[in-house]
Amino acid sequence: MGIFTEQLINGLTLGSIYALIALGYTMVYGIMRLINFAHGELFMLGAYVGFTLLMSQFATGAGPGLLLLAVVVLAAMIAVALVGVTVERVAYRPLRHSHRLTAVVSALGASILLQNAAMLLWGKRYQAYPVEFVPAGRFELLGVHFTAMQLIILATALFLMLALYFFVQRTAIGMAIRATAIDHDTARLMGIDINQIIRLVFVIGPALGAAAGVMIGLYYRQIHYTMGWAYGLKAFTAAIMGGIGNIPGAMVGGLLLGVLEMLGAGYVSSAWKDAFVFIILIGLLILRPHGLLGERVAEKV
């Protein structure tokens, strides 16, 4: 097993995390034409909520059970979804009819606020996920080595993405979401409650981000209140690469970005890898100004 397969697996793992976060950016953008700059912080909050739960009484002595982790992920998703809905209500709804840039600045304000709230709640120090809950072990699958945590991340991310895809494509609510993304007024005439749809999007996006946050916490174990911005920026880049507003685009963009980043680190230079990612983004946008799947797919969510 050479550096290539190793970096490919690392890249897919990281990429599936990016994809989960990117879905939050892309869904909000699809519905509201708003870059939710606070989304990276919601991801970070997810990591901290998961940390708090695992450190609390509730988890003592439980050991690395998958059921326990599933409960923790679910709880973090719920908690962060509540924060997401609140952010929408307080910082975005009053600005829905003003100039787009005012909403951008409000989003930046929300991001600063959430980041500092996390600092006050959990402190300035680096925190580490308790090691006893992290599933250990290494697997060999088709001649490729995985760690247990990588498999869990890949499986969970895939499950969540498929679930979202079918929800949006196959259910009545999903159809309402797609209709709202295309045209608010027409959707309203069709009897769709736009506010409900927006609220729903601010539940789904942050919840997916929170799941990604817990998994990053389990994967690298070290978390910090400033981490939201770096992952948020990467995920946003992924959403743009895939074509913002487009759900499959965010998934493809996320995985592609993760793999590119890790291969760049392996073959180019790990110190330059982020620059490498952005150079590829700029090159891609010069060739395809609306991202990989930006034009081809009609329905944008």
Binding site: I3, Y126, S270
Partner: protein, 392 residues
Amino acid sequence: MHRRPVVSTNGRVRALALGLVLALGLALGLASVTPASAQQPIRIGLQGPITGPWALEGEMAVNSVQIVVDQINARGGILGRPVELVIGDDQGEVRQSALTAQRMVAEGVVAVISSYGSSITEAAQLIYEDAEVVNIAYGATAESLTQHGHRYFFRTSFRDDRQGDFFAELVTTHLNLQRIAIVHDNSTFARGLAEAARRSLANKPGVQVVFYDAVTAGERDFTAVISRMRTTNPQVVYFTAYYPEAGLFLRQMRDAGIDALFIGGNAAINDEFIQIAGLEVAKGSLVTQEPLPTDLDYPEAIEFVNEYVRRHGAPPSTPWPVYAADALNVIAAAIEATGSTDSTVLAEYIRNELNINGITGPISFEASGDRAGAIYKAYVVDENGRIVDAGY
């Protein structure tokens, strides 16, 4: 207790009010406030990372210096005048450091204890030198700091090259290992230590630096560097950067199946390192560093540590805060001996004559401003997650 509120500076953001008129008013207001005490306090600055990623170091430095301030004031102050501490927060950032130093100068302090981190200190020492204010660094070890020919800069901490020598000695004579990997993060401090170690190893027969590279501070995934390092098959990894990266690096290195001995530089290993790496992984790691406060057996040190524990429940967890406390001891001794608060007089005295017993042992300075002598030790992370004397 003469302690001013933390002077915290946020960036950009030192500014004038909404209009010039308001600012004018404020300035006039500030100018009219003059302390009317007959016994004007001697104001001494402490610049450190009160907030930001190294906030823990800043907090311990303030606690430590405050103990010495209280000791001095309890025995009647310096020249009969009480000491007043002016705290400046540089947030562990280069630009903040320059701004904080400018603020310190404007506050009219007699001398400054500044700062933690070599790059941070380098930014501040320029401004203090220009303003002719004595400044004594407590957690800055890069060689370059004392190579600018500054007249007012001193440091109570030791220099990287001496730690590099110690590391070379440790791996060759005590551990007897040959294949060495060195990893730094391009910061003044970490690269300085890495280079010092490499230089020192070059003179030793039989050892070989097989891998020498940098990681990026703030990064979480080091698998690419580690994959490359693995192909060189090292027996020892000397990690000279800081603990948040050190913990992750060690764990990912073990995950990749490298079982080389991990030795950290003096910023790499502390309680948070153990927490991040996990005890199972961290135990057995070595660190080259200055003696911890609790390992100092001078009477001044024992008294100081007892007082610190009485106030804060536990001793300082890193060596640096005590150097800050000693910096104040140096300043106080110089003012007392010369009877002056003039910077030039103080700097001359500290450079040429000062010789005291501080908390960290005997203190005197070389012409460059470096502290004379050096003491390093190797510590090991034990089974219980404590960092204890390794006996080398």
